[in-house]
């Protein structure tokens, strides 16, 4: 479904990715692991550009509008599916149907009591879950997320990973929590210095080896 063959990427003065070949079939739950600066975000971007319309996205900086309410930020996942007048009306006066839909997603990520709080007043972990709720609201089959649980505690991380696995058929997650990657994903791709240095199904990997190379 997503294919890269001998792809390279570089920023103005430095090479970010070298000779990347990667095929991701439908239904796979893939974790990209690697230290900071290894090229995870760049690889996500390369893959994302292949099918931008089908992919729900959780960027590393969340991409939330801090002055709007949590409700409106989550609703934004569906803007493309409604006529403009409906979106504008809903911006001024939240409509019943979307409020119900958003509320049901928020209850899954344990944010339902914050429905109309401005995003700016939420904590970092709450904002991260808001970005995830928006991605769920997009209702797609594929999710791309850059460090989706980096600001969450262990219990919430597990909750969110479980929800993501249920809601999306295909996952591509950049992570540096190796335990979570092993627990929820079925394929691990390790990046080091812009190259793929490991690409194995989860079952054949040993935690300690991964920690030595990719742990922070």
């Amino acid at each position: 479904m997503l294919h890269l063959v001998s792809a390279n990427a570089s920023y103005e003065d430095s090479i970010a990715l070298t000779d990347i070949t990667l095929h991701i079939p439908v239904g796979q739950k893939l974790a990209l692991i690697g230290r900071s600066g290894a090229g995870k975000s760049t690889l996500l971007k390369l893959l994302y550009d292949q099918r931008p319309t089908d992919i729900a996205l959780v960027p590393q900086d969340y991409g939330l509008v801090t002055s709007l309410s949590l409700f409106h930020n989550v609703y934004m996942g569906q803007l493309g599916r409604h006529p403009l007048w409906y979106n504008l009306l809903n911006l001024i006066k939240p409509l019943k149907k979307p409020v119900g839909e958003v509320q049901s997603i928020l209850s899954v990520v344990q944010l339902s009591d914050k429905l109309f709080e401005p995003i700016g007043q939420l904590s970092g972990g709450q904002q991260q879950r808001a970005a995830i709720a928006r991605a769920i609201m997009q209702n797609g089959d594929i999710l791309f997320a850059d460090e989706p649980v980096s600001s969450l505690d262990e219990q919430q991380s597990n909750l969110v990973m479980k929800v993501l696995c249920q809601r999306f058929e295909t996952l591509v997650l950049a992570m540096h929590d190796i335990d979570l990657a092993l627990k929820y994903c079925d394929r691990i791709v390790g990046l080091d210095n812009g190259r793929i240095t490991i690409d194995e199904p989860t079952g054949s990997l040993v935690r300690k080896d991964l920690l030595d190379i990719y742990g922070e």
């Binding site: 801090t66 002055s67 709007l68 949590l70 409700f71 403009l84 429905l115 109309f116």
Partner: protein, 516 residues
């Protein structure tokens, strides 16, 4: 036991319902408050078009655009040189004096004097100095230099305030305050001063052009003559020259060349009129002394004179000024919200943005006074031309600032496009800045509203101008003082609202441009 459970229950319910009820933000409510005030003002404002065939005249005006007359280039060129010379001398002397005053800005007296001087528009200063010095170049210089010095003092003081003082505090004892200032403060802040001063020079060019409308030999003088003669081709030649000068500002206005310009400028503005000492002493000892005092009618006479002036001229002037200001303010905001995407990379590609920039540069470089003058001649005297002129000019300025600010935003790659992007992603992010810019311009719009009275709209400027025409300078001075007081009031109200809503303007660069 039961009571305790109950209490916990209610507390829980309260915290839950806080996030569950949709509450509109204060900035939303304030925005609508201003819209409703403006709507309530509408029925009381005269917005009629009284000329017989306004559109045909507008057609002839734009017809002139197709054939800008270069035959009459001699006059425009002379006017342009005068405009430049007055602007450069006025702004640079204002900047020097302002810099000195900024060092004393901690003194309450200095702040009050500056606020009062600032509250009186350049054109009113020009009207005053015309009475004292006649057409001597000093009139134009002081009319520009004085209010500019007061504004420079305030903004320079703010820049000094915001700067880092640590290096200065460390060496002040050993080096002495002056050396310490030049070594430890000025180098860091120099760029801010230069940026702001350069920006003000652009404002100074507009002000200098407009001073021509009250008789100085700058652009406005030739423009109004050409316009009233119906020589539209010449009007366009003048305007286009003016736009070219402003657009090319950064190519010829170099700090290194400035001393040269300052040396040449006095020779350009020099004329053979002389300052009459008699005139000056008569102005201070007779002209501006209230009539009842001159006739020794005592305090009761003075009171009667004042109440009559207040009720028949000041009050209607104040009401009309406020009406016009509130309507123009809301329309300005609306126009800014519509226009800012024109230069934003979030909405348009490079070529589209280029056209947008061109459009906004023209709209904001045309002084509102000139716009109002043109529209007034086309549509006849009512508030309509003034509202439109103020909204177009100020709307373009705010749109420019907002567009630039929106270019600093980074949206996520999957953000929607078009109107959805505008409504959900962009406007909520920049609305605070938008309101801050708008409230900054509130007082400016009001100052300009008063001034437009000179064109025949019955705001305060109308009564001031009439009093001066009738050589009743005592009345004119009182009305000018009232206008200034009104501006100071609006300024502090705007300050109050901004601090209540915690509105602040983003980067230093943009904040420099939004101050005026």
């Amino acid at each position: 036991m039961y009571a305790k459970t109950c209490l916990i229950f209610t507390v829980n319910k309260l915290t839950v319902s806080k996030g569950l009820r949709f509450r509109r933000s204060p900035r939303w409510k304030v925005s609508w408050l201003f819209v409703f005030v403006a709507l309530a003002c509408l029925p009381f404002a005269d917005l009629s078009i009284s000329t017989y065939d306004p559109w045909a005249e507008l057609g002839r005006l734009f017809g002139g655009l197709l054939q800008p007359s270069l035959v009459a280039i001699e006059k425009p060129f002379e006017a342009l040189l005068q405009t430049l010379a007055f602007a450069i001398l006025g702004v640079s002397s204002g900047s020097l004096i302002g810099f000195g005053l900024a060092q004393l800005f901690h003194l309450r007296l200095v702040r009050i004097v500056c606020a009062s001087v600032r509250a009186i528009h350049e054109l009113f200063w020009a009207l005053i100095f015309l009475q004292i010095f006649g057409l001597h170049p000093l009139t134009g210089l002081l009319a520009l230099g004085l209010p500019y010095a007061a504004t420079f003092a305030k903004v320079y003081a703010e820049i000094l305030e915001e700067g880092d003082r640590r290096a200065y505090d460390t060496i002040r004892q050993s080096a002495g305050p002056t050396s310490a200032f030049f070594y430890a403060r000025l180098p860091d802040l120099w760029q801010h001063f230069v940026t702001y001063t350069g920006y003000r020079l652009e404002c100074g060019l507009r002000s200098s052009a407009v001073l021509g409308f009250v008789g100085l030999p700058t652009l406005g003088y030739y423009l109004s003559t050409a316009f009233l003669e119906g020589a539209y081709a010449e009007v366009w030649a003048l305007l286009i020259l003016f736009y070219l000068v402003i657009a090319s500002l950064r190519y010829w206005l170099r700090p290194k060349l400035l001393p040269l310009y300052i040396l040449i400028a006095p020779f350009i503005i020099a004329n053979d009129s002389e300052i009459s000492v008699d005139n000056i002493s008569r102005f201070f000892t007779q002209d501006i002394v209230p009539l009842p005092l001159r006739n020794s009618e005592g305090l009761s006479g003075l009171w009667q004179w004042f109440t009559e002036l207040f009720l028949t001229e000041a009050l209607p002037g104040i009401i009309n000024t406020l009406l016009l200001t509130q309507i123009a303010l809301v329309l300005t905001g609306l126009i800014a919200l519509i226009w800012f995407p024109l230069i934003s990379r979030l909405f348009f590609e490079r070529f589209g943005r280029l056209l947008g920039h061109l459009f906004l540069v023209i709209m904001r470089s045309t002084p509102e006074y000139i716009l109002a003058f043109i529209l007034l001649t086309l549509w006849g005297p009512s508030m309509l031309p003034a509202v439109i002129a103020l909204a177009l000019h100020n709307g373009a300025i705010i749109a420019h600032l907002m567009g630039r600010y929106s270019n600093t935003l980074s949206l996520r790659v999957d953000a929607t496009a078009g109107m959805n992007r505008y409504a959900y992603e962009v406007v909520p992010r920049i609305y605070n800045q938008f309101l801050a810019f708008l409230f900054y311009r509130w007082e400016i719009i009001q100052r300009e509203t008063a001034i437009l009275g000179i064109l025949g709209i019955t705001t305060l400027g109308f009564y001031i101008d009439s009093a001066i025409q009738d050589i009743r300078l005592d009345r004119a001075m009182v009305l000018i003082a009232i206008t200034a007081a009104l501006n100071v009031c609006i300024d502090s109200l705007s300050h109050y609202i901004r601090s209540k809503l915690r509105l602040s303007i983003g980067s230093q660069q943009i904040s420099a441009e939004s101050r005026r």
